[in-house]
Symmetry: C2
């Protein structure tokens, strides 16, 4: 990764100061401020010259003629890339597994989102691990009453789904046993994709008299496990109100809507999962974000893995003047803690 694009140390330091200060205050940063609060011992005039250069290079922007400077997307990008490089070492350790114990997973993830939101003062999201390429572990049919049965489907990673199926025929115990046997011997170990039409036909055949039921049950199962849209937990949406640049009605509405519908958040997750560089950490600044309605924000995502192809995403959405350093650190801490929780439970 090519860093500090031809900037000398002093320019770099000034740029960094501008960004950091802007992160704190949210106000454009003037030359005087920098000359004062930095150990460069330069007068404001010198700083001004340097700033003019930095502006020419596209790293900072002047909102209007007589204002200080704010970082441009390009400026943020450089800053973040530098941080990344620094943190890379630590970040590598970050991807730890947390398989098993998936049944209370939802609560833990919910909590995780909350903790993250409280800790960072940004809006956060956590996606439950997707298990698309997962395999069936076993299926258990149980009779509920004469015409209803419940199918419990357990998949690798202990993801559990269930579905009530209503059938025409009158059920009895013997049938249930048979069906259970049949389903389990033929389906166990298969991935969702491997279960196809030919499979169904063969099963029906084997079921003989009960082919009707198989058909019903099968539809239900397919329906249940397949198109499940991913669960996403969010927290701290109202944090956007803490940043004036996001809290005008227009932007706030867009962001909050995205968080409510979750549709758009899914896109972010998908995007995050598709890239595998940077050890799972992605930073989208302004226009870079996959979702147009967040063009005034920055989005930081981290991918976590639970092995066996299960992975999910943690995301933080905040203003462009996000405290990237802190966010990344917190993200890491959270991972570690999640990891601990999942392992302590065993």
């Amino acid at each position: 990764m090519e860093l500090n694009h031809g900037l000398d140390d002093r320019k770099l330091k000034i740029l960094q100061t501008i960004i950091k200060t802007y992160l704190e205050t949210g106000e454009p940063v003037g030359s005087r401020t920098i000359s004062k609060y930095t150990d460069l011992n330069l007068s404001s005039a010198t700083i001004r010259n340097e700033m003019a250069d930095l502006e020419d290079l596209g790293y900072i922007i002047q909102p209007h003629t007589s204002a200080g400077r704010i970082p441009s997307d390009k400026g943020y990008r450089l800053y973040v890339d530098m941080l990344m490089a620094e943190k890379e070492q630590e970040v590598i350790e970050m991807r730890e597994q947390m398989l098993e114990k998936a049944d209370k997973m939802d609560k833990i993830l919910k909590q995780a989102a909350k903790v993250l939101a409280v800790n960072t003062n940004y809006a956060t999201m956590v996606s439950a691990p997707s298990y698309n390429r997962n395999k069936l572990k076993f299926i258990q049919l149980s009779q509920v009453d004469e015409h209803q049965l419940i199918a419990v489907i357990v998949m690798e990673g202990n993801i559990i789904k269930n579905k009530i199926v209503t059938v025409e025929e009158t059920l009895n115990n013997e049938m249930m046993l048979k069906l259970n046997m049949l389903l389990n011997t033929s389906l166990t170990g298969l991935s969702v994709e491997e279960i196809n039409l030919g499979m169904i036909a063969r099963l029906k055949e084997q079921a003989g008299v009960h082919s009707e039921i198989i058909s019903d049950v099968f539809d239900a199962i397919a329906n249940t496990i397949q198109p499940e849209d991913m669960e996403i937990y969010t927290s701290g949406v109202t944090n956007v109100f803490k940043y004036p640049e996001l809290s005008d009605n227009q932007s706030a509405q867009e962001i909050i809507n995205a968080f409510e519908e979750k549709q758009l958040l899914q896109e972010i997750v998908t995007q995050a999962l598709s890239k595998e560089e940077n050890h799972g950490i992605q930073v989208y600044i302004g226009q870079e974000t996959p979702v147009q309605s967040m063009k005034d924000c920055s989005v930081v995502t981290a991918t976590y893995e639970l092995g066996e192809g299960m992975q999910g995403t943690i995301g933080i959405i905040g203003p462009k003047r996000m405290d990237y350093e802190h966010v990344m650190k917190t993200l890491k801490t959270l991972m570690t803690e999640l990891d601990e929780i999942f392992h302590k439970e065993e």
Copy 2:
């Protein structure tokens, strides 16, 4: 219910006009407007006199000296009570059951909230039916691997819960059969409250060698079915931005926060469920609302029943100048449709 508290027809009509107009515009209503858009054929001066009276009686308010009038909470209340009386007939039919098919319930309810939000332009919430006083229908334990089993618990109304339990002992098929038998014979038909410590002790005794497992399983089950906080689906939060009086940062933040945390919404639900007058429809205006953070809103809730003690709540949260008439009508329609859906599925 005592209605039109000593108001003559003309005053009533004027009050009604003020409210309706204010509902549309959100602006204070002046005397001239009323004299013009009403069939009373009165001059604005006369209207002014009447308005002064109405203000004395507390039905309307003057935000400042030279502004029109807006309805007070008392005014809204009268208006709503009148509407209620009108709609009472229709509303009675509204409580229809929609039992069974509870397994995809979540999706339907989610959708319901959305439809309602789109239809009304207010924020909406739908609580899943609580099943506290429900009975256990049956329990099915299945072995997952050597030390793990999954407990599937089905309750009256086909509410399904599941939980993975890890045990010390090595499991085998025979044990599972025994345990299943034991649990089902002793627990089936009991309500959650009826399962107590004495019960557990007796079960353990009967389990003999496997008392360890029973204990584990039992904890898990109790844990799973009991303290479950109710699921609440929401939609259309961003609708608050459509009403200037709610969309200043302060109020918007409070409302949105309530919708995100859902904690406070639960209180509304609880409140709604506790009152059984008005055939399930409750209207809270301004300060009347159970939740302080919504003191600038009105909240309309409807209770639906699925029989067997299962009931949930639908709620609409909007500005005080809510279109009560439309809201109630939509609420009714939604109920009917939900009903249809749940019955068509059979």
